[in-house]
Symmetry: C2
Subunit: 499 residues, 2 copies
C-alpha cells in the first residue's frame, strides 16, 4: 500500500460526518482536565420527519450529446417552515447516503423553528441512491465522467429552481447552503458560483485550500501530531518511535506471526507489504481519532469515549520501552478505537468507513479533481516520512480508474486563496481537526468570516445540540444563526425594495 | 425556411463585429439632421502588431474520461505594456476568427498606452483555428459536445493563469475582460464566475437577458422598427406593408420570375418556399442595417453610407404605391446594403455573414445553450408575424444537430436578472442596437453599471477611435477608461496591503 493508498484512506475517513453523540459528562473544561468514561451509553434517538423525493437531473449539465437523465434523491422537511418570512436551509450533500448526512446534521433540525425554515437535504450524484447509471455507475471512467463538483453544484442549482417553481410560497424565499467537510466545500463553492440562488453559505470544516500548493502538505499530519502531543505526556513521541519497533519486530524470524497475534489481527500478516499496510491502517486510526476527538462519549464509526485521543495516549506514556511492550501498548490503543464496546473478537486491517460513505465515488474524485496533498516527515510529525509524489499518485490513479488527476483545476475553478470578492460565507473550523489546516481560519472580509472552535473536532458545530456541548460550539452556533438571520433579513429588505 | 432558420440568421448577423470605419462627416447631431454620402472612401489601414501564440487546452475541462488537448490560438501585443503598474486587457473571443475580432476592436489598441496594458485576444474554441477536433470538429454532436460557454470560460481561465505563470512581471498584474456582443456576454460571465482572475469586465452590447422569458421576445424587432420609424417618414409602415406586396406578386402567374428580375436575384425563385426565404433574407437585411446604423460611412459586411437606415428609408417614403413600385423601392433599398460600391451584378439571397464568423459553431450554440427568443407580430413591429415556438425550434435543432436546446440553462447558470451580488462590470449598449433590448441598460448597483449610447449601434464603443466619433461614444469610452483605471488602482491598493 503506497502513500497514495494511505492518502485515499485518510481522505475517506476524514470526510466522515460524526453520528449523533452520546453525552456522558460536562465538557466545558480544557481537555487535559476532562473526565472520560469507559462505559458506553447510547443516546435516545430523535425521530426526524422528512419526505423522500426525487428530481430528474441531466446526467451532463455541461454537454448536450448525452441527454440522459437520472433520479437525484433529496429529503425535505417543512414542519417548521413558514411562508411568511421563512427561509430554506439547503444541505449540499457530500460523498455518501443523504439519509445518513440528514441524521447527522442535527444543527439544521435544531434551528428550523427559529429560522421558520424548510429543510432540504440534496444527495450528491454517484452516492446513496442518486446513481446516474444505476449499477453501472462505477464500471469505468466513461460512466464516472459526470462525477465532478461542477455537475454536483449544477444539480443543486436545478433543484433549488425546481423547488421554488413548484412549492407554493417558496418562490420569494431566501435559501442558505450548508454543508460539512467536502459538503462544506460544496456549500462555499455554491455560494461563489451561484450567488443568485443562495444568499449565503455555512461551510463547516471545509478544507477549500487543501489543494495544490495553497497550504504546505505537511500541515495536516502536524495537526494530528499536535492533538496527540497535548493529550498526554510522551504520546506523540511514543507513536513516532513505534513505527521502527513494528519494523524491527517484523524483520525477526517469526515477526509477522508475532505481530499478528499481539495485535489480534483477524487476518495474519504474511508478507512484508502487509506490514506497510498495517502501518497505514494504524496511521489512519490515529488520524481518525484526531478528527473525532469530541469532548463527550460518541458512537460514530465505533463507540468512543470522551476525548478518545486522551484515552489512547494513556498507553503511550513511555517511549523507552521494549518493542514487544510497545506493540502491546499499540494494541491497547487500537482497542480504544476498534473495541470500546468490547464486542470485537479481532482487529480487521481492511476495515474502512461506514458503508453510508461512497468509497468508490470518493476514490474517483480524489483521482480527478479532489487532489488534496498531504505528507509527513517523521520529524515535525509523529508519522513515518511520506513525501507527496504527484507522479506516483497520478500513475496509481491511471491504473485504478484510467484517468489522470488535474491538481491545479480546483484552485483555477474556485479561486484558491483569492476569494475576497465573494460575500456571505461562514467558514467554521474545529481547532483539533486536521482539516482545519486547509480551511479558512481568518476572516477574509467582513462578509467572509472564519470561526475557529477551540477544542473542536471535525464539524462539531453541525451536530445536534447537546446539553453537554462545550461553550465554544454553543457560541459558534449562536454566531452562525445570527449571521444567517442577517442574510435572510437583508434578502427581505431587497425584496421589499424591488416590489 | 421556418422561423427558426430566420432566427439563426438573425443571431449570426446580429453578432458580427463592425470593421474599422471610414469617417465621412461629423456626427454630433441627431440622425435626422445628419448628412450622408454615397461615395465610399476607404480608411487607411492601421497596422496592429501582435504575436500569434497557442496554448494546449483540455478538450473537456469538466470531465476526465477524455484527456485530449487542442491548440487554442491567442494574440498578444505588449508594445505599451509596463511591468510597473501595468495591466492586462483580455479580449474574451466570440464566435469567429480572433484576428478579425482583434482587427475590429480598436478601442483596446487605442487605450493600451494609457493603461500600460498588455493586450491579449483569446480565440473561442470551435472558431478560427481553435478547433478541438480539427476538420472533424463539426462532424456530429459528439465532436461538438465541448462547445459551450462554460468550456470557453474555462479556456480563458487556464490561459490567464498560464500567462501569469510564464510571462515575467505578469504575475501580480490586474486583468480586465473585454468583449462585444456574445463576447461581451462572455466577458460579463467571466467576471461573475472567475472574479479571482479578472478585476472587472467591459461587456459591450451584451444581451445577457435575451434568454427564456427574461425579456419579451418581441423587444428585438420593435427596436429595429423604431430605428426605421425615426429614420424617415412612413419608412417602417412601408416595410410593414411590403410583405403582402411580395406575396401578392408571387402568387400571380409569372410572379416568381418577375420578382427575381425586379430584385436582380442571382438565383431565380422557383417555388413558394423560396418566397419565404426571400422575405427572411430581406428581414435579415433590415435587422442588420439597424445594428450597423453607424453615423459615418463604414465598410463592414458591405461598404455602407453613414446612417444607412436613413438612406434606405429614402425609398420607403410612400406606402400607398402599386406593388410593382414597392418592389422596385425594395430593390433600391437592398442595393444600399448589398451594392453601395456599385460592383454587384446581382443580389444573392444565400449571402450570409463574413467567413470570419463561424456559422456552424454558432448554429450549434443557438441549438444548445444560446437560445435567444425573438418574435414579431406585424403590429408593434414592421415584420410579418412570427411567434416563438420552442417546440418547433427544438425539433429543428434535433434534426440538424441531434441535440435539444435547454432554454432555461443560461439563466440558471449565470443568474438571469438576479446578478446584484457581482461587482465591477460595465454593460454598454447602443440605443439603436436591437440587442440592447436584452442588455443591461440600467445600473444594478454602484459597481454594476449600465451605459446607453444615444444614437449608437452595436458595440460602437469597442471600435477604433475616430475623429468623427459622436460625443456620446467619446464620453462612453472615457467613462469606461475611468472605471477600468479605478479597478486597476483598487487592485494595486489591495496588493500593497497584502505585501
Amino acid at each position: 500500500m503506497g502513500c497514495r493508498s494511505l492518502l485515499l484512506l485518510l481522505l475517506l475517513l476524514a470526510f466522515l460526518t460524526p453520528a449523533a453523540s452520546s453525552p456522558v459528562s460536562p465538557s466545558l473544561r480544557a481537555p487535559s482536565s476532562l473526565p472520560w468514561s469507559t462505559s458506553f451509553k447510547s443516546r435516545p434517538t430523535i425521530t426526524l420527519k422528512y419526505s423522500i423525493r426525487y428530481i430528474q437531473q441531466k446526467v451532463d449539465h455541461f454537454g448536450f450529446n448525452i441527454d440522459r437523465t437520472f433520479k437525484q434523491r433529496y429529503l425535505i422537511a417543512d414542519n417548521y417552515w413558514k411562508e411568511d418570512g421563512g427561509s430554506i436551509l439547503f444541505y449540499t450533500g457530500n460523498e455518501g447516503d443523504i439519509i445518513w448526512f440528514c441524521n447527522n446534521t442535527g444543527f439544521m433540525w435544531d434551528i428550523a423553528e427559529e429560522m421558520k425554515a424548510m429543510l432540504v437535504f440534496a444527495e450528491h450524484r454517484y452516492y446513496g441512491e442518486s446513481l446516474p447509471f444505476g449499477a453501472d455507475s462505477f464500471s469505468d471512467s466513461r460512466h464516472l465522467n459526470f462525477l465532478t463538483t461542477e455537475q454536483a453544484l449544477a444539480d443543486f442549482a436545478k433543484l433549488i429552481k425546481y423547488l421554488k417553481r413548484t412549492i407554493p410560497g417558496a418562490r420569494n424565499q431566501p435559501v442558505i447552503a450548508l454543508g460539512g467537510s467536502y459538503g462544506g466545500m460544496l456549500a462555499a463553492w455554491f455560494r461563489m458560483k451561484y450567488p443568485h440562488l443562495v444568499v449565503g453559505a455555512l461551510a463547516s470544516s471545509a478544507p477549500i485550500w487543501q489543494f495544490n500548493d495553497l497550504v504546505p502538505c505537511d500541515t495536516f499530519m502536524k495537526i494530528v501530531t499536535t492533538d496527540f502531543g497535548r493529550s498526554g505526556p510522551n504520546c506523540s513521541e511514543s507513536i513516532r518511535r513505534s513505527w521502527d519497533a513494528i519494523s524491527r519486530l517484523a524483520k525477526k524470524g517469526p515477526g509477522l506471526r508475532w505481530l499478528s497475534e499481539a495485535l489480534h489481527l483477524c487476518t495474519p500478516l504474511t508478507k512484508w507489504q502487509d506490514v506497510q499496510h498495517l502501518k497505514d491502517w494504524i496511521s489512519e486510526t490515529w488520524v481518525n481519532l484526531a478528527m473525532v476527538d469530541y469532548p463527550y462519549e460518541s458512537n460514530f464509526l465505533q463507540p468512543l469515549p470522551a476525548w478518545p485521543v486522551k484515552v489512547v495516549c494513556q498507553y503511550f506514556k513511555y517511549y523507552n520501552v521494549p518493542d514487544t511492550l510497545m506493540l502491546q501498548n499499540i494494541f491497547q490503543a487500537l482497542n480504544v478505537y476498534y473495541n470500546y464496546s468490547g464486542q470485537a473478537k479481532c482487529l480487521n486491517v481492511s476495515e474502512t468507513a461506514t458503508s453510508s460513505l461512497g468509497v468508490l465515488g470518493w476514490s474517483y474524485q480524489a483521482c480527478t479533481e479532489m487532489v488534496m496533498p498531504t505528507c509527513s516527515d517523521g520529524v515535525d510529525d509523529m508519522f513515518e516520512p511520506h513525501s507527496w509524489n504527484m507522479k506516483e499518485y497520478s500513475d496509481d490513479c491511471f491504473k485504478q480508474w484510467g484517468v489522470r488527476p488535474r491538481p491545479s483545476w480546483i484552485p483555477t475553478m474556485y479561486g484558491g486563496k483569492n476569494i475576497s470578492s465573494h460575500t456571505n460565507i461562514i467558514f467554521s473550523n474545529g481547532e483539533l481537526d486536521p482539516w482545519s489546516g486547509g480551511g479558512v481560519t481568518k476572516d477574509i472580509t467582513d462578509t467572509l468570516l472564519a470561526i475557529v472552535i477551540p477544542n473542536g473536532a471535525h464539524h462539531l458545530d453541525l451536530r445536534a445540540s447537546n446539553a453537554l456541548d462545550p461553550v465554544s460550539v454553543q457560541l459558534t452556533r449562536a454566531l452562525e444563526v445570527k449571521y444567517m438571520k442577517q442574510w435572510i433579513s437583508d434578502f427581505y429588505v431587497r425584496l421589499r425594495k424591488m416590489n
